[in-house]
Symmetry: C2
Amino acid sequence: MNPPTARTKVRRIPTNAHYDAATLHAIIDEAYLCHIAFSDDKGTHCIPTACWRDGDYLYIHGSNGSRMLKRLMADECCVTITHLDGLVMARSALSHSMNYRSGMVYGRFEVVEGAAARHAMGTFMDKLAPGRQAEIRPGSDKEYAATTVMRIPLAEAACKARSGAPSDDEEDLAWPAWAGVLPFMRAQLAPVADPGCTITAPDYVCRWQK
Amino acid sequence: MNPPTARTKVRRIPTNAHYDAATLHAIIDEAYLCHIAFSDDKGTHCIPTACWRDGDYLYIHGSNGSRMLKRLMADECCVTITHLDGLVMARSALSHSMNYRSGMVYGRFEVVEGAAARHAMGTFMDKLAPGRQAEIRPGSDKEYAATTVMRIPLAEAACKARSGAPSDDEEDLAWPAWAGVLPFMRAQLAPVADPGCTITAPDYVCRWQK
C-alpha cells in the first residue's frame, strides 16, 4: 500500500485515518460487497458488487455484457467498503457520530484471464464457504468464457475508522442525557435449505448461525 | 419517483428492478449510511456518509469545510444504499448469488438552510432514537452555522433486489451439493454506556439489543 496521495490523504479528523495494508485487508475480508464509483457519458455511477481479496488485489466479477465492467477496463475508479459498527450518542446534538470502518481504493481494474480467473473464482468460493468448492458443479469452459474477472491493486488506498465512546465537549459533560454507543453487528441467521435440497447440510451450513 | 431513465433502467436481470417510491423509501429508512459517487478534478470518488429521508428527499449533512459537500453543490452525483440479506448457495459454481436490496438515486443536492436545516437534523435524530431530541443539548446557532445540510430529490431513482432460493439450471438440480440461502441481518448489540454517564438508560437504549 502506497503512502497517501492527494486523493487518499484524509483531511477531516485525520487521526481516524489508517494507511496500512493490515487494516485495509481486514476491512475487505469482512465484506461481501463493495460500492464502485465510475464515470461515463451518462454521469457518475455508484454500483454495488460482490468483492473479495487475494494478496494485494481486490477482485470483482460479472457477465461479459456488464456495462460497468466494460467501463472499468477503460478508466480509473474508486472502490469503497464501509462497515457500520454503532451509533454514537453524545450529550449534544451535533456531537453525535457513528462508529465505522471504511476502506477506499483508487486505481484501474485489469482483466484476469484463463487459469488465473478460475483460481480467483475459487478464492471467492473459499471465502463464502471453505470446502464448498469441492462439492459444487464446477464452472464449464462456456460459463467461464461468459464471465469477466477483474482485479484492482490495493496500492492507492486509505482507511478511516471511528470506534469507542462519544466525545462531548467538556462543558456538555454535565448535560443530563444518556451517552454511549448503540452497537451493530452483522448477524448470521438460520440457513434456509432450498425446497428441493435433499443433501445433508455440510459443516459450514450447520455452523452458519451466530 | 420518475419513470426509468437511460441511467436508471435496469438492464441485467430486469425482473429484479423496482421503480416505486415505497420500495426505495423502505431501503433508505432501514439504512444509516449511503455511498455517494461524484467527480472532481482528482477523479471519481465513492464516499460513505450518514443519510436519512424526509418525504421525497434523501438528506445528508457535514461540516461546511467538507470537500464532498462543496462539490455536491456544483454537480450531479449518484447515491447508493445496499442491504446484504444473504449468500445464495447454488449447486453450480456460477449460479451462486447474493440476496440484497439496493437503491440508487441520481441528481443534484441542494442546500437546506435556516429553520428547514434544523428541522431536517431533528428528523435525523428521530430516526436514530425517537424522543432523544428532547433530552440532548440542542445545537447552537454557531454549531448550525458551521454545518451544511443538503437534500437530493428521490426522483431519478431505481431499486434492485433479489430474494429467495437459488435458481440452478434444470440439469444441475440433481448435483449432490447443499443448496439454499445463508441469511444475514443487522443485529443490535448491548448498549455501551459512556464511562462518565450517570443517567438512567432511556427506553430506546433499554430496548436496543435485538
